[in-house]
């Protein structure tokens, strides 16, 4: 995996962080959603990252010695929070149950906001990596002149 293909490592990082950010935004937007098409309150979603070798469209199919240790990242799973939501006593609420409790999603907005910042920083860092690598490739090309 040469410097060129390493661009796809950083691109995978951007893609993974963006998916993570999208899910966090969805969680935040639905932190009070008590009714979903599937029935019941909104279930919080989370990403699972795993590191994976990246292939480049221009590269060899097999991993060369040069790609030792070089791995991108992928979203291996999106999991839904299986635990039941928090109940609040609101007897007049349209989604209240027989005892007058409404089940709200298990979303902690402040935690997800912090996570969102992390996703955003991660995203930016990958952009910085792409920029630095492009510079190095550009200097390499200058060597030919």
């Amino acid at each position: 995996m040469s410097l060129f293909s390493t661009l796809s490592v950083s691109a995978s990082g951007m893609s993974a962080q963006r998916t993570r950010a999208e899910l966090l935004v969805e969680n935040l937007a639905n932190s009070e959603t008590t009714r979903t098409p599937e029935g019941g309150p909104y279930k919080r979603k989370d990403v699972v990252f795993s590191s994976e070798p990246q292939s480049s469209p221009f590269g060899a199919v097999f991993q060369t010695e040069m790609s030792a240790g070089v791995n991108g990242v992928a979203v291996s799973e999106i999991i839904e929070d299986p635990l039941p939501g928090n109940k609040r006593y609101i007897p007049g609420h349209p989604d209240a149950d027989k005892e007058g409790y409404v089940t709200f999603p298990r979303v902690d907005p402040s935690a997800d906001m912090v996570d969102l910042l992390g996703a955003s920083r991660g995203f930016e860092a990958n952009i910085a990596a792409i920029s630095a690598i492009k510079d190095m490739i550009s200097h390499s090309i200058d060597l030919l002149k």
């Binding site: 040469s2 410097l3 060129f4 060899a60 060369t64 200097h139 390499s140 090309i141 060597l143």
Partner: protein, 99 residues
Amino acid sequence: MGPIQPIVAPAVDKIVPVSAGSFSPAGTDFGALLSQAVGQVENGQQQTSAAMDRFLSGEDTEVHQVALVAQKAEMQFDLFMQVRNKVIAAYQEVMKMQL
């Protein structure tokens, strides 16, 4: 005053004829130098195209590695051209001499 010494002819058989391709001022053999330079140039060209192939096909080589090999090959070629020009110039000088 001693007896008159006979004139001795120079040792004609000791004159070594100059063989083509190796007229040698100060001991350098231009023929060997040239073939060595040709070999290096050919080697350089081969290495360059091998590096380019590796880069284009297998992602096994970095751009800068190709560039360095190409630059070295180019310098070897430049050097070869200079040597060749010098050799030809020297040869022409010699040929112009009236013997």
